[in-house]
């Protein structure tokens, strides 16, 4: 820290002001590399000839000062500081022949390369944005004409399609998927549905046969299934306690009537 201040002391006032501005604007830097690039400009030399050692000192001084001013520095600034401190020691100490890792010079050269590359990218980015741009300096056709797409459809069929089609029609009647034929079957559920609605009106003893729907009354097959369904339904209703059933004799007509509340 002391060293950094000593150096700053020797610099011009303008440089000191610039350095203070750096601190205040810490939020304006896009990371440590950006800050290093800005610091390197104070050396006023070609980036290729930059003193990395000097740059490392400047950076470490910056971080020290930021700490003193209690500025929140993001972790990557501190990581860079640690790395630069390591680099500084490598550059200052005589090379250790037993050390396998890269030399301080190699690391410094790479950092110089990174800075030079970042600056180069910034320069070409500026050159790119300064070019004539479409919609700003260069213009495309204003009145555009859509290409109309004419859709022409051709239909195809093969002889096989034709023959299969014909075969399909001619053999249609031969097959019918197996299904239970339920047209002439009345279920107990159907009869129960009907009777629940009708039973409210059955105050008097009525022949169960009179409950059959008329359309089920003529065909003997339909009449038989309807009768069975209605009988089963009336047993169900009797079990629920909603009707009473009576039959005078074997094979005599079966009568039902609504079960009155007083009977309960």
């Amino acid at each position: 820290m002391a060293q950094g201040q000593d150096e700053a002391g020797r610099d011009s006032v303008a440089d000191r002001i610039a350095e203070e501005a750096l601190i205040v604007d810490v939020g304006a830097y896009e990371g440590p590399l950006d800050l290093l690039l800005t610091l390197s400009r104070t050396q006023k030399v070609d980036l290729r000839k930059i003193s990395i050692l000097e740059l490392a000192r400047q950076y470490l001084a910056f971080v020290e000062q930021a700490k003193r001013l209690r500025l929140e520095l993001a972790a990557d600034y501190l990581v860079m500081a640690a790395w630069l401190a390591f680099l500084k020691s490598r550059l200052l100490l005589p090379p250790d022949s037993a050390d396998e890792g890269p030399t301080g010079e190699e690391l410094a050269a790479h950092l110089a390369f990174q800075l030079e590359r970042l600056e180069a990218m910034r320069n070409v980015a500026a050159r790119l944005m300064a070019r004539d741009q479409l919609g700003r300096d260069i213009f495309a056709r204003g009145i555009t004409q859509d290409v109309t797409r004419v859709r022409r459809v051709t239909y195809t069929a093969t002889l096989l399609d034709l023959m299969q089609g014909y075969a399909r029609i001619r053999t249609r009647d031969d097959f019918r998927p197996f299904v239970m034929d339920r047209d002439n079957l009345m279920t107990m559920e159907q009869a129960l549905d009907r009777m629940r609605h009708l039973i409210g009106f059955a105050g008097e003893w009525t022949d169960i046969a009179s409950y059959l729907p008329p359309e089920w009354d003529h065909d003997p097959v339909r009449r038989r299934t309807a009768t069975a369904a209605h009988f089963a339904a009336s047993l169900e209703l009797a079990k629920e306690g909603r009707i009473e059933i009576r039959q005078g004799d074997t094979f005599a007509p079966i009568h039902i009537r609504k079960r009155l509340p007083r009977d309960v």
Binding site: F139, A140, R141, G142, I143, Q145, D146, V147, T148, R149, V150, R151, R152, V153, T154, Y155, T156, A157, T158, L159, L160, D161, L162, M163, Q164, G165, Y166, A167, R168, I169, R170, T171, R172, D174, F175
Partner: protein, 196 residues
């Protein structure tokens, strides 16, 4: 003036609407003569692929009318014929001449006008002689184009039901009453005799 011509070209090219003379004058530097420049541009583009045309009081570049065909892009799409159309076509081919009522009877469903129209448009069926029955209904027969398309010498080359079955196209188990099939065959031949 050459420079003004370039300006007129650029303005008329890039502007989204036709541009009037006062608008041109307003956009070009002071002292320009847009009318004269326009006249030169018009001459320069005469006979080119795009022309300078007057649209009411304004000017615009437009495609030369004879090149309008370049602005449409034809897409040929191949689709499979619908099942209804194939069945109708098959019935006409096997039973020709067939009336619409006959086709409907065989298919078991009504035949839409559109299906017949489509087949006629494809030049696969055409109107045959009217049937000499009450109402004199029109009949449909297949065309030469149909025979060419399906690679047939004549409609009689179409395989019969027996052959279809032999070829595995009718993988139905043979029904007990196969006489029906023979009757079909006979009926079909009758119809073809008519046609011959």
């Amino acid at each position: 003036m050459a420079e003004q011509e370039r300006m007129v070209e650029a303005i008329l090219f890039a502007t989204a609407e036709p541009v009037t003379l006062p608008q041109l004058a307003g956009r070009m530097p002071h002292g320009c003569d847009p009318a004269a420049a326009l006249a030169l541009v018009r001459k320069r583009f005469a006979g080119r692929g795009v022309h300078l045309v007057r649209v009411g009081e304004a000017w615009a570049f437009r495609t030369a009318p004879d090149l309008g065909f370049l602005m449409s892009h034809e897409i040929v799409e191949t689709r499979k014929l619908s099942r209804a159309a194939i069945e109708t076509l098959a019935i006409v081919a096997y039973h020709q001449p067939a009336t619409r009522a006959e086709i409907e009877e065989i298919r078991g469903v009504s035949v839409s006008r559109g299906t017949l129209d489509q087949l006629i448009e494809l030049d696969w069926i055409r109107l045959g002689r009217r049937r000499m029955t009450p109402g004199r209904p029109v009949t449909f027969i297949v065309t030469q184009h149909f025979l060419d398309h399906f690679g047939l010498e004549s409609a009689r080359d179409l395989p019969g039901l027996k052959e279809l079955r032999a070829a595995g196209l009718l993988d139905s188990r043979p029904q007990p009453g196969t006489e029906v099939e023979d009757a079909d065959q006979a009926g079909q031949n009758d119809l073809f005799e008519d046609d011959a």
